[in-house]
């Protein structure tokens, strides 16, 4: 690995000031470190934000659950408040990687990386999340821009992710048997004003499947989407699954999720 300067920030302002065009913020490092080892990423400075106390923790209010950016997957998976308010979110966290990854990996790191097959981005879209940064609030729909791309600016730090508590919700995924990343993952959330169906793993970026969501908003049952056509155009095709297979799985897993709600 190429060498770099390691900084440990104690305040958000301090971390933001240290940022440059050749730096990265470090939380759990579950993607950053392997990427650096493989030479896919090099940085002059790594700014560790785990020491910033206000970035970690879970706060429940009547309507939302707010999770600090450096909160670990294991903490989300075990949180009594989350299990009570949005059990599907705790279950999603429990399904990420393996226990050692869940002991280190963070929710903020996951969404900042925006891997096309990551689990958390689908939760953000389905649960109408607001991404709180050190300078603004961003709607999840506007946050995820494309493959490994978000609307975060240089030096901007995610502080917390605030999820709207749904009436019902469920996340179902077809996990890659080795990595547990989603070959296809579908997060269904039902609100008074309508249903969201967020899909990860299928395309180059997480998306809200509006046609499925529309049909389910009218009739919240898995049979309501029997006749919705899912086209394979734009779907990923690789050794794990063809585009056609993924298109099929989007509907199958949406139905599974609805049935499990």
């Amino acid at each position: 690995m190429k060498t770099f300067n390691y900084h440990s920030a104690k305040e958000v302002k301090e971390a933001s000031k240290l940022a440059s065009s050749n730096s990265a913020f470090l939380a759990g490092g579950m993607t950053t470190i392997p990427s650096m080892k493989l030479g896919l990423a090099t940085y002059k400075d790594l700014i560790d934000i785990k020491g910033i106390k206000k970035l970690s923790g879970i706060k429940a209010s009547g309507k939302t659950i707010k999770i600090g950016a450096t909160t670990k997957h294991v903490e989300v998976a075990k949180s009594k408040e989350i299990k009570k308010a949005i059990p599907s979110l705790a279950a999603l966290a429990e399904g990420i990687g393996d226990p050692q990854v869940r002991n280190r990996g963070t929710i903020g790191g996951s969404i900042a990386n925006n891997d096309p097959a990551a689990d958390y981005p689908s939760a953000c879209i389905a649960l109408n999340a607001i991404i709180h940064t050190n300078s603004r609030k961003i709607d999840a729909e506007k946050f995820f821009k494309g493959m490994f791309e978000t609307s975060l600016k240089n030096g901007e730090i995610i502080e917390a992710i605030e999820f709207e508590i749904p009436q019902k919700s469920n996340y179902q995924k077809l996990p890659n048997p080795a990595s547990r990343y989603a070959v296809v993952g579908v997060y269904v959330a039902k609100y008074k004003r309508g249903v969201n169906v967020a899909v990860t793993g299928a395309k180059s970026c997480v998306y809200n499947a509006k046609d499925l969501a529309g049909a389910l908003s009218k009739n919240f049952s898995s049979s309501a989407i029997n006749n919705v056509k899912i086209t394979s155009s734009g779907m990923n095709s690789d050794i794990h699954a063809s585009a056609n297979y993924r298109a099929n799985m989007v509907k199958t897993f949406a139905q599974k999720a609805v049935d499990a709600c």
Binding site: F4, L26, M30, I33, L38, L46, G97, P99, Q100
Partner: protein, 153 residues
């Protein structure tokens, strides 16, 4: 260079190390604790699992500088007064290893499982060992070893 202070297997360590030093490298190359193995080196195989402040992590995917102030336990830190840890005993008794390469990580991971779940079922053991890959035994005896240890711990 960064100065790190750690407690490794009960021993205080104070070292100046390059910023990019990975924990597994510190353990193996600087502290000569070669019981922690490096397999894939990209956090998939689990041969490098150690405990940091009581929780299992993959030491190939953590910077040592990041862990300054932590207490680290490696496979070498398990035996007490020359007596193996019950998990080590169980792996030996149930033939939970063949070549032994994955074993340190398996043992460290399995001990963390029993901290979280004293009496895990077969499927809970297999789920937990998701991040530990063995290429010899086919896992059967590893699961048996973890169950044996659970009955003794």
């Amino acid at each position: 260079m960064k100065r790190v202070t750690l407690e490794v297997n009960g021993k205080k360590i104070d070292k100046e190390i390059p910023d990019h030093t990975i924990l597994s490298v510190l353990l193996r190359d600087i502290l000569n604790l070669t019981g922690t193995h490096i397999g894939c080196d990209t956090s998939q195989c689990g041969a490098c699992v150690v405990h940091v402040d009581g929780k299992s992590i993959k030491s190939c995917t953590a910077f040592a500088a990041d862990l300054s102030g932590s207490k680290i336990t490696t496979i070498e830190g398990l035996a007490k007064n020359g007596k193996m840890h019950p998990m080590q005993e169980a792996f030996k008794k149930m033939h939970g290893l063949q070549c032994g390469f994955c074993t340190p990580g398996m043992v460290m991971s399995a001990i963390d499982l029993l901290k979280n779940n004293k009496n895990p079922s077969d499927s809970e053991i297999r789920d937990w060992l998701e991040g530990n890959i063995c290429r010899c035994t086919g896992y059967q005896n590893i699961v048996a070893a973890v169950k044996e240890a659970a009955s003794k711990m």
